[in-house]
């Protein structure tokens, strides 16, 4: 796809169980939106426009996880309509914060939250899109980083590989000359096992990384969990550190479930 080809790539944005934050990141990419709008045809984006063109689409961006039977059917349709399917954000990529239900009984939650639980139909687990259909690319983050999104679109239009690194947050942390909070303050920082992309915002402001971008290319979560214990964190604190937006990613899951058994 070259930018001067006649055919403007059609983009669709699908929403599943999520907070809409990733779609907002797309809308927030203001300084690039005009260029994006000029280069692509935003054919289906219910959050932004009432215009809804039929598929097929060249690129489908999927926000959110699968939590209902209806979702599970809808993602199959979405996949069939998109040449390239990209998950955006921790929900779509790893199941999101709502995947914390996966270790508990969701019916119990439902009975606490809703006065008429009978109307609620939900699956036992919140699952990432890739557990249902093949995914071509993942944009990580909670929410995604708008520059990574724009980079993905620019690269796709130019027919080149997106420059989206899969190494740890620590590289971004050191490049911006932040002082390591794990070493200088003994904080539990998930940066070493988390994929770069946020620019190491939290360490730069004196906090440990929360792992929004999910597991990096070869996360050694077990070794980091051991270190958290050496730093004085108890089992509960360690589980909580790994169990947030990307709790259900298999790498973080394996590390926490092993610790739970100890």
């Amino acid at each position: 796809m070259s930018s001067d080809a006649k055919h403007k790539p059609k983009i669709a944005v699908f929403k599943f169980a999520s907070c809409d934050g990733c779609q907002l990141s797309l809308l927030d990419a203001e300084e690039h939106l005009l260029a994006v709008a000029g280069a692509v045809d935003i054919a289906y984006f219910p959050e932004a426009s009432r215009r809804m063109l039929k598929g097929p689409y060249d690129i489908g961006l999927v926000e959110g996880s699968v939590t209902t039977h209806h979702d599970a059917q809808r993602i199959q349709q979405a996949r069939r309509q998109c040449r390239t399917l990209v998950t955006i954000g921790a929900c779509a990529t790893a199941g999101g914060i709502q995947a914390l239900r996966n270790w508990n009984d969701v019916n119990e939650f439902v009975s606490y939250v809703y006065s008429n639980p009978d109307y609620i139909q939900t699956l036992k687990q919140s699952t990432p899109i890739a557990e249902h259909v093949p995914v071509d690319f993942e944009l990580r983050g909670c929410p995604i980083n708008k520059y990574q999104l724009v980079e993905f679109i620019a690269a796709t239009l130019a027919g080149r590989k997106p420059n989206i690194p899969t190494y740890s947050v620590c590289l971004e942390c050191k490049r911006r000359a932040a002082i390591c909070v794990a070493v200088a303050r003994g904080l539990a920082c998930l940066g070493p096992v988390t994929q770069a992309g946020c620019g190491a915002i939290c360490p730069a402001y004196g906090r440990g990384c929360y792992g929004c971008f999910g597991p990096m290319e070869n996360p050694n979560a077990k070794a980091l969990a051991r270190r958290f214990a050496e730093l004085g964190n108890d089992r509960e604190q360690i589980l909580r550190a790994f169990r947030n937006f990307n709790a259900w990613s298999w790498q973080f899951r394996a590390a926490t479930e092993e610790r739970e058994q100890q």
Binding site: Y167, V183, A184, E217
Partner: protein, 384 residues
């Protein structure tokens, strides 16, 4: 008795303040140690008060804590998290940008010219590291011109180490605690019995000329002796040691040692060790176009042999496993570096030990290979 000629001199604390203002008056941006975010780190310095008088850092494997000293020493700490690499070989730099122009394209070279920089508080190990980077980036077939311009105009005020950290082992690598060359001025700080002075030596014509401008006294023989003793004590007090004898061969012979698996179970492949190391020079060059395809930029960023993309060639990454990546780092620093560049790739600064988030200590890991060397490799060792 004031003197205007000698290349060694005794400077008072106020003369140190004048050193800073004189450098500023000559158009240098002054970079020196300052307390920031719980450490002592190279930062822009405006005046004497910005320096970390009365502070030190306690450093251990995976830990660094700011502590107070009760003697008011200005340079009573050892290597901090940043080294001169951050300045001479920047973490991120735009190499070029390009713009589409009537069916062709135009290269826009808009790199800002680097400031003239003076560094205060540079340690012997760091100067040794700069010499190693010179060898890699300037003295081979191709020159790194970005490094060259930043390096060329630097003025270096070294400080000999009298307070090594527990992570330091420069006495073993023969790169400290005394700076022997590669500086314009070298200071040794003496704080005792109510005196606070710096023994200053010039190491270059520029250093000599600058010293001439400062109020100073002829150093008494006793001061020289005190400085000598402080440096000897520092060398003798180092807690960590590294036996460099036959080190390269030891690593080559132990390519398949089970200790690499042990390391792989602890290492996070986070790359911190390589990024804080003052000699590691590896970078990645990325190009990116914008959405409408009108302009593109080429950026260079610090990279590390701990990332998967680092060894990517057609078909995949050569070093797929954490084990192979840790082995690359340790073997490059302590073995193949010598074959390539004629020295060790390590100057004993201890940064990789302190700033490893899980506290992996190269001196201990290397010693482990010595205590239980495996059988000499058969040809064609594993590549996992």
């Amino acid at each position: 008795m004031p003197t205007r000629s000698a290349s060694a001199a005794a400077l008072s604390v106020s003369a140190l303040a004048e050193l800073i203002s004189t450098l500023q008056a000559r158009g240098y941006q002054v970079i020196g140690p300052a307390v920031r975010d719980g450490t002592i780190v190279y930062s822009p310095i405006e005046r004497l008060e910005d320096l970390p008088a009365g502070f030190s850092m306690e450093q251990e494997a995976g830990a660094c804590r700011l502590v107070k000293r009760n003697d008011g020493a200005v340079f009573g700490y050892a290597a901090g998290p940043r080294s001169l690499k951050s300045f001479f070989h920047p973490a991120e730099i735009k190499l070029i940008s390009a713009e589409r122009d009537n069916g062709t394209f135009r290269i826009v070279s808009d790199a800002p010219s680097p400031p003239r920089t003076a560094f205060i508080g540079v340690r012997a190990c760091e100067i040794a590291a700069v010499r190693i980077q010179d060898r890699v980036l300037l003295e081979d077939r191709y020159k790194d011109t970005f490094y060259e311009t930043r390096r060329a105009h630097a003025f270096i005020v070294a400080v000999n180490c009298t307070a090594p950290a527990d992570t330091c082992f420069c006495a073993s690598t023969n790169t400290g605690p005394r700076a022997r060359e590669g500086f314009d001025i070298a200071l040794t700080e003496i704080v005792d019995d109510g005196r606070h002075v710096f023994l200053a030596e010039a190491g270059s014509a520029a250093g000599k000329e600058l010293l001439r401008e400062l109020p100073k006294a002829e150093p008494a023989a006793e001061l020289r002796k005190a400085a000598e003793k402080a440096l000897q004590d520092a060398a003798g007090s180092m807690k960590r040691r590294l036996d460099t004898d036959g080190l390269a061969q030891l690593l080559y012979d132990n390519f398949d040692h089970p200790h690499w698996d042990d390391l792989a179970s602890r290492c996070l492949c986070c790359a911190n060790c390589t990024l804080v190391c003052p000699t590691c020079f590896c970078v990645a060059v990325d190009e990116a176009s914008d959405v409408d395809g009108r302009s593109a930029e080429r950026w260079r960023r610090w990279d590390s042999c701990f990332t998967q993309s680092f060894s990517y060639i057609h078909g995949g990454s050569v070093r797929h496993s954490p084990k192979s990546r840790y082995r690359q780092w340790l073997t490059h620093k302590f073995a193949s570096w010598s074959d390539q560049f004629g020295t060790l790739g390590c100057v004993g600064c201890g940064r990789c030990i302190a700033w490893c988030p899980v506290g992996i200590d190269v001196t201990r890991e290397l010693a482990a290979f010595r205590t239980s060397p495996a059988a000499v490799n058969s040809q064609g060792g594993s590549h996992d």
